[in-house]
């Protein structure tokens, strides 16, 4: 009996941990570097986007350079649906995506299946 209670308690704790880890914890973002008037960030695509939250200033052009370091076809494209941009990411190649978030807000980017996600956070400049 006592084993069952312990096992179930552990199960419940695990569930809470999973829900917290995947859904409720907030990720910290990485600010984009500014070079030559363009805000730049370098993103590695491997099992996800690293970094996956990019903080930029609204109204200024942003260049995101993606490098895909895996062969999994899931991540072969990156889609910015708010900007109607979608790029093929050949493995091992650097692909630049240039967009300008005109208004402050959060813009999501993802692979075409939506399994990998990242956010572009545009702050009022």
């Amino acid at each position: 009996m006592i084993t069952k209670i312990i096992v179930d308690a552990v199960g419940l704790v695990l569930i809470v941990l999973i829900a917290w880890y995947f859904w409720f914890s907030r990720k910290k973002g990485e600010a984009a570097a500014v070079s030559g008037g363009v805000q730049e960030a370098y993103i590695i695509v491997k099992g996800g986007y690293t970094p996956d939250v990019i903080i930029v200033k609204a109204g200024k052009p942003v260049r995101l350079i993606f490098e895909r370091r895996e062969a999994s076809p899931c991540s072969e494209r990156v889609v910015f649906k708010d900007f109607n941009v979608s790029r093929l990411l050949p493995e091992g190649e650097k692909v630049a995506v240039e967009i300008t978030p005109e208004r402050p807000g959060e813009y999501e980017f993802a692979c075409q299946m939506g399994m990998f996600r990242g956010r572009l956070v545009a702050e009022a400049g």
């Binding site: 199960g11 999973i18 990720k27 889609v79 109607n84 939506g114």
Partner: protein, 845 residues
């Protein structure tokens, strides 16, 4: 021009017709080819703009060769500034483009250093260095500088030049996929070769070893240990992508298919290994059981599924590969009077290119000499070759069939129609259909939810299940994780979209985005612009009605002879009509145009009058008998013209903007799809109704000024309809944008293509119905996929959790779960591939 001394420079200048320059001036001269000049006024504008520049000594623009000869002071003005001035006037300078790889870039300052070096090279118009791809894109004037010199400039700045790989990214992607496929198959064979004997040994009773290996015996424990060792490489090598993928995802606070499989197969292996190594920690002996077969067989099945899926997915994008392979590799240009085979990348705007029968047209351009039939099916989807002669446009990548011809390149490189099509298709394939938003929302929560369900199932079986509880709990936990298939959900929409958009491109239907494709299947009204869409867009001869002694052909011959030199579209229509009947035109004398009335002339000694009723009245010619005929023609939407010979009425000639051959059948097809067809036009009600009757349209919006077309579309939308708009002209652009789906027909204008969601390349109206059919077929396919994926996961997970056990005693083995999961995503991709078989229904005439 007089010269004091005739030194070498003077002669040179004289040849070019330029004033001798001042001593201090460093003279330079350049020949720039200019694209887009269509009239002498344009040439003057360019000339003036160049001459007004500080430092330009003289500029002469030759319209027929589309070139500018500029003599200038090299210290005051650069070639790129000259090019800039020409561009500012709205024309393009014939330049070449070169992309080269650059090695050794380490800092941000390298970028400007290389760009400066390139831009200061004479003849370079523009240079942009991309640090991300470590390459430079250089636009240069081929007459002044060549690729080698451009490369030297980079080397001179201290960097090495490498060839950018000539392969298309798609090719590399393909190669990567093949490697991936080979690896997956190796992993599959290892897992299955180990997995089958391991599975057999897991049930010694079934293979007749029950007596040799009784439960609890040391012999059995040794066999188990051996199985554990055998399955270790399966877990660690064949299954490594699951662990790598799971860890990568975990670090990003997300979880995917890899997470589920990794937890599933490792749980099975670890439980088994604990049972082998420490059997005494289990309260009862029967709990110390092994699941090594689950680890090996599930890995084998899932890996096989991934390999099959990869194979199937690489087929989904055949359309774009086909398009890319169409590009010609070389072009035969005529430079300095000599034929030269050069790579297609080096062709510049303004080059004259020779194309022989059976060869590909390398770039877009306009025929200057010769004629031929050209097969344009690869771009337009029209299977009948198109006749081309001087003045006609040819499209790169099409195939010349019968004769040789020369043409002037008007678009090269990324500006060609084929490149634009490829770009558009790629963008559309990567875009999202709105239907996927639901899936996206689900996908974000899916995997963690499955893990939670797995834990809950484990707890339920462990707490309330039958004995041996722990074994059942482990089995359901592993089964739940393994049967869940987020991939089937994720693949459902994009795969079908990719096939559907590609299929469209094959048929000359360019779909801009997934959004457009999805909306097109919901349309229930379609607005057709009359001129150029339903009709040909220019008048042609329709009727010749004689009255009195002349024959039809004579009447036409006289009228056409009068109009011979006419630039009026109505006159041209008559001349063209006479030519089509094989009539040889006569000479017209004393030609006189009477504004607002018509024309008069003397042909073969007879005085001819051709014009409207006002002309007849002014000349006092009785036309009583013609009134009924003229009205009938006007009712049919035609423009009747009166002809009088030697002062008496001789007959009527009518011209009209004729309906395209297939318009009526196309409109029937649209109605057959359940759409309300509406015609919109600026023409008067009478002409509009006549055309509408002819093609079978019930609803007409006539006398709509161009600015008001968008408003009319809005009004239809307010009736609650999803409205598609088909148009071709610039003035349709606002209406195309206003419509739920805007379709630009024909090669059309760039503006119309920009504003539209679907472009029908060179399409006749019948393509509209095809586009809507395609959108419906694709959406049906997507829905089938989504339904399949939801049902599969919705049923599979509860069954794996053991929901059926209390009622039927049924419990899924993790191995069956693995098989189901592996093949569910293959099924989705295969279903999407079924769309590749889709064929447009022939419009029945």
């Amino acid at each position: 021009m007089e010269y004091d001394e005739d030194d070498g420079e003077g002669i040179l200048m004289k040849v070019r017709g330029v004033e001798p320059v001042h001593e201090m001036v460093v003279p330079g001269s350049v020949r720039l080819s200019i694209a887009g000049m269509t009239c002498w006024r344009c040439a003057l504008r360019v000339e003036e703009a160049l001459n007004n520049m500080d430092g330009v000594e003289s500029a002469v623009v030759n319209l027929s060769s589309a070139e500018a000869f500029v003599t200038y002071d090299t210290r005051k003005v650069s070639v790129s500034e000259l090019a800039g001035a020409i561009r500012k006037e709205g024309f393009d300078v014939g330049t070449s483009c070169l992309t080269m790889g650059i090695k050794g870039m380490r800092c941000a300052s390298c970028v400007s250093k290389i760009e400066d070096a390139l831009n200061s090279t004479p003849g370079v118009v523009d240079a942009v260095v991309n640090p991300a791809s470590e390459s430079a894109r250089v636009e240069y004037l081929p007459g002044l500088v060549d690729a080698d010199t451009v490369e030297q400039a980079v080397v001179g700045a201290g960097y090495a030049v490498g060839r950018p790989s000539a392969e298309e990214p798609e090719d590399r992607e393909q190669a990567a996929r093949q490697r991936e496929h080979a690896t997956l198959m190796k992993k599959f064979w290892l897992s299955i070769i180990i997995g089958v004997p391991v599975m057999a040994l897991s049930y010694p009773d079934y293979i007749g070893l029950g007596e040799l290996l009784p439960r609890g015996s040391t012999a059995l424990r040794i066999v188990w240990g051996f199985m554990g060792l055998l399955t270790l490489p399966v877990l660690l090598w064949a299954g490594n992508q699951f662990f790598i993928g799971a860890w990568n995802a975990f670090r990003h606070r997300s979880a995917d298919m890899h997470t589920l499989i990794a937890i599933g197969i490792s749980s099975a292996w670890i439980y088994s290994t604990v049972a082998v190594l420490f059997p005494w920690i289990f309260p009862r002996a029967e709990l110390a059981d092994v699941f090594y077969d689950v680890t090996a067989i599930v890995t084998a099945l899932v890996v096989l599924g991934m390999a099959l899926e990869l194979r199937a997915r690489s087929r989904t994008n055949e359309a774009i590969k086909k398009l890319m392979s169409l590009q010609a590799r070389t072009a035969r240009v005529i430079r300095d009077g000599k034929e030269e085979d050069i790579p297609v990348e080096e062709v510049v705007v303004g080059d004259i290119i020779l194309v022989r029968p059976g060869e590909k047209v390398p770039v877009d351009g306009v025929v200057t000499e010769g004629s031929s039939a050209v097969d344009e099916s690869m771009v337009t989807g029209e299977s009948i070759p198109v006749e081309k002669s001087t003045g006609d446009e040819v499209i790169g990548a099409t195939i010349n069939k019968t004769g040789s011809f020369k043409f002037r390149a008007s678009k090269v490189g990324k500006d060609t129609m084929l490149s634009q099509i490829i770009r558009m298709v790629q963008d559309a394939q990567g875009s999202k259909a709105p239907i996927q938003r639901v899936v996206d929302r689900v996908a974000g929560y899916f995997v963690p939810t499955v893990i939670i369900i797995g834990i809950l199932a484990f707890m339920a079986w462990f707490t309330f299940g039958p004995e041996p509880q722990l074994i059942y709990a482990v089995v359901v936990f592993v089964s739940v994780l393994i049967i869940a298939c987020p991939c089937a959900l994720g693949l459902a929409t994009p795969t079908s979209l990719m096939v559907g958009v590609g299929k469209g491109a094959e048929n000359g239907i360019l779909i801009k985005s997934g959004d457009a494709l999805e909306t097109a299947h919901k349309l229930n009204a379609i607005v057709l612009d009359k001129t150029g869409t339903i009709t040909v867009g220019r008048p042609s001869l329709t009727d010749v009605v004689v009255s009195g002694g002349v024959t039809e052909n004579d009447l036409l011959l006289y009228a056409a002879s009068v109009e011979r030199g006419s630039e009026h579209p109505l006159g041209e229509a008559i001349v063209e009509g006479a030519r089509q009947r094989g009539l040889a035109l006569l000479k017209a004398d004393n030609f006189k145009a009477i504004p607002g009335h018509g024309v008069e002339a003397v042909v073969a000694g007879r005085r001819l009058l051709l014009g409207n009723i006002k002309l007849m009245r002014a000349e006092g010619i009785a036309t009583d008998g013609a009134k009924a005929g003229a009205e009938r023609l006007a009712d049919e939407g035609k423009t009747p013209m009166y002809v009088a010979i030697d002062g008496s009425f001789a007959g009527l000639i009518a011209v009209a903007d004729t309906v395209k051959e297939d318009s009526a059948s196309a409109i029937r097809a649209l109605k057959g799809l359940g759409l309300e067809v509406v015609m919109i036009t600026g023409d008067n009600e009478r002409t509009a109704q006549a055309i509408a009757r002819e093609v079978g349209i019930d609803r007409v919006m006539a006398e709509v000024v161009p600015e008001d077309k968008a408003h009319q579309v809005r009004l239809l939308q307010l009736e609650g309809k999803k409205v598609g708009m088909v148009g071709d002209g610039i003035n349709d652009a606002p209406a195309l944008a206003q419509a739920d789906v805007g379709m630009a027909i024909g090669t059309g204008t760039d503006v119309a293509m920009e504003a539209s969601d679907i472009t029908l390349v060179k399409g006749s109206l019948s393509k509209v119905a095809t586009a809507i059919e395609l959108s419906r077929a694709t959406m049906r396919n997507i829905k089938e996929n989504l339904f399949g994926a939801f049902v599969y996961n919705g049923l599979g997970i509860p069954v794996a959790a053991g929901l059926l056990y209390p009622f039927s005693g049924m419990l899924l083995s993790p191995i069956i779960a693995g098989a189901a999961m592996a093949f569910s995503s293959v099924t989705v991709v295969t279903n999407a591939n079924r769309l590749r078989m889709w064929k447009p229904r022939e419009v029945r005439g």
